[in-house]
């Protein structure tokens, strides 16, 4: 019997893993990017080393390390139950895998953010520096300017990140690839479910791309928006 509910739970599990780990990855990446631009040399070197480390090690290995470590070391925890379809006993495992996934993308995102800032060019950065803004307002101004440059590669990386959530299937954590694999081996309709999985992932990837295009349009810096508004409709 084919269980559609299992697939929906898998999709929900993947989305929760993706949203949580993506958010943590972006936060970590902002810290690493800020560190790699720090005037303090040890901080800068530490941040650069962390970026290279997370970019050079496969996410699958991070996930395996987190999974095996949690299964060996953690017996009980008070972590909230947020991962749908994963039993309460394996919720700490799901949290650990979520962190491993975040770590796998943090270095890549940090490089994207650093490159976006560098792409502004020194004249614009110097202009922002001499405006006499508070550090927070200066950071917001630079972030606003960088967004248009950083959003497309960030979207591409987060699509890759969505695909990486499939590694959670190596452990008893409910997510889409595990659900597809489970349904395929239960029903022996491997191609049917594999193609269904391809279609679902393609749709989710397409939606992510669309979300980022919308964000790009909405969050583009005011100068770029004005320039766009001045363009004739047929251009």
């Amino acid at each position: 019997m084919v269980s559609g509910a299992e697939l929906w739970v898998g999709i929900a599990g993947s989305l929760v893993l993706w949203v949580l780990s993506g958010t943590v990855a972006i936060l970590l990446a902002l810290i690493l990017a800020a560190g790699s631009l720090s005037p303090n040399r040890p901080v800068r070197l530490l941040a650069r080393a962390s970026v290279n480390l997370t970019r050079g090690i496969p996410t699958s290995l991070f996930v395996i390390a987190a999974g095996v470590a949690t299964m060996h070391l953690v017996s009980a925890s008070d972590l909230p139950i947020v991962f749908p379809g994963t039993t309460a006993a394996f919720q700490p495992l799901a949290w650990a895998i979520m962190l491993a996934l975040a770590l796998g993308s943090a270095g890549h995102l940090a490089e994207i953010f650093r490159a976006a800032r560098a792409a502004l060019g020194s004249p614009r950065l110097e202009q922002a520096a001499v405006m006499g803004l508070s550090p927070m307002r200066h950071a917001v101004l630079i972030a606003r300017e960088c967004i248009a440059i950083a959003l497309p590669p960030t979207g591409a990386r987060l699509i890759h990140h969505l695909h990486n959530t499939a590694f959670a299937a190596l452990f008893p954590v409910a997510e889409l690839f595990g659900a597809i694999e489970g349904q395929a081996s239960t029903t022996f309709r491997v191609f049917h479910f594999a193609l269904l999985g391809c279609a679902i992932y393609a749709v989710l990837s397409g939606l992510t791309w669309l979300l980022f295009r919308l964000l790009e349009a909405a969050l583009a810096p005011p100068v770029a928006q004005q320039a766009r508004a001045r363009l004739p409709a047929w251009s």
Partner: protein, 228 residues
């Protein structure tokens, strides 16, 4: 333990890092060749190739791990071949678009000059456009190859004894926490070493090859030297 991670578990050799590299080089080279053909096709026939471009875009939306799973169930594919085909298809999805976008940006002036010099279109594509495209897209290709080398870890779901699988097996049978941690840290260092070597080594070899190619072409075509 280090030997097992480098060349695979006893009775399952070649494995470990060596097998990861074999898969990486084989799939990367096959995808590059297919990507070049795709780029030429799409640039030569931009409208006719739209369905192909759409299919490639869809392909990029599918996780590698699912491709590995899909190909593993093709009846006439052995496990190793399924892994290789999955990696090639995955890499093709990314490399092809990189090459297409760079080839589409080939300068019109260079194309015009080649035409005025009476170069045949085959020579123009092979000796001018493709080397120009490969040279310009090198950075983007290396970024993808670093990702591909790490993504060979997806073969773990087939149990192919590459580095991730070997590390997983060794860590699962580790007697204590220290042994477990040492295994995973060593595997991480091996991946890190391989990716750093790739970042340093490939541009060096490519530069050498390109200079040899330029010298060879300079005797037959001054235009190739100028635009490459």
């Amino acid at each position: 333990m280090v030997l097992n991670l480098l060349v695979g578990l006893p009775g399952d050799r070649p494995g470990g890092l060596l097998l990861s590299l074999i898969y990486f080089f084989a799939s990367g080279a096959a995808a590059l060749a297919l990507g070049c053909a795709y780029a030429v096709l799409c640039v030569a026939f931009p409208r006719t190739s739209l369905p192909l471009q759409a299919a490639t875009a869809l392909l990029r939306g599918v996780p590698l791990i699912l491709l590995v799973f899909l190909f593993a169930h093709v009846p006439w594919f052995v496990v190793g071949l399924a892994g290789l085909v999955a990696l090639t298809v995955y890499s093709f999805g990314h490399v092809s678009e990189v090459l297409r976008s760079f080839l589409a940006a080939y300068p019109t002036a260079a194309a015009e000059q080649a035409r005025l010099m009476g170069m045949s279109s085959v020579r123009d594509w092979l000796q001018l456009r493709m080397p120009w495209t490969l040279w310009r897209s090198w950075t983007a290709l290396i970024t993808h190859w670093v990702s591909l080398l790490k993504d060979t870890g997806a073969l773990v779901i087939l149990g192919i004894g590459e580095l991730t699988t070997t590390a997983k097996v060794l860590s699962e049978v580790a007697a204590n926490f220290e042994q477990w941690a040492t295994t995973l840290v060593t595997a991480a260092c091996l991946y890190l070493g391989a990716t750093l070597a790739l970042i340093q080594f490939v541009p060096f070899v490519a530069g050498k090859l390109f200079r040899i190619l330029q010298q060879g072409q300079s005797t037959s075509s001054k235009a190739a030297e100028r635009y490459a």
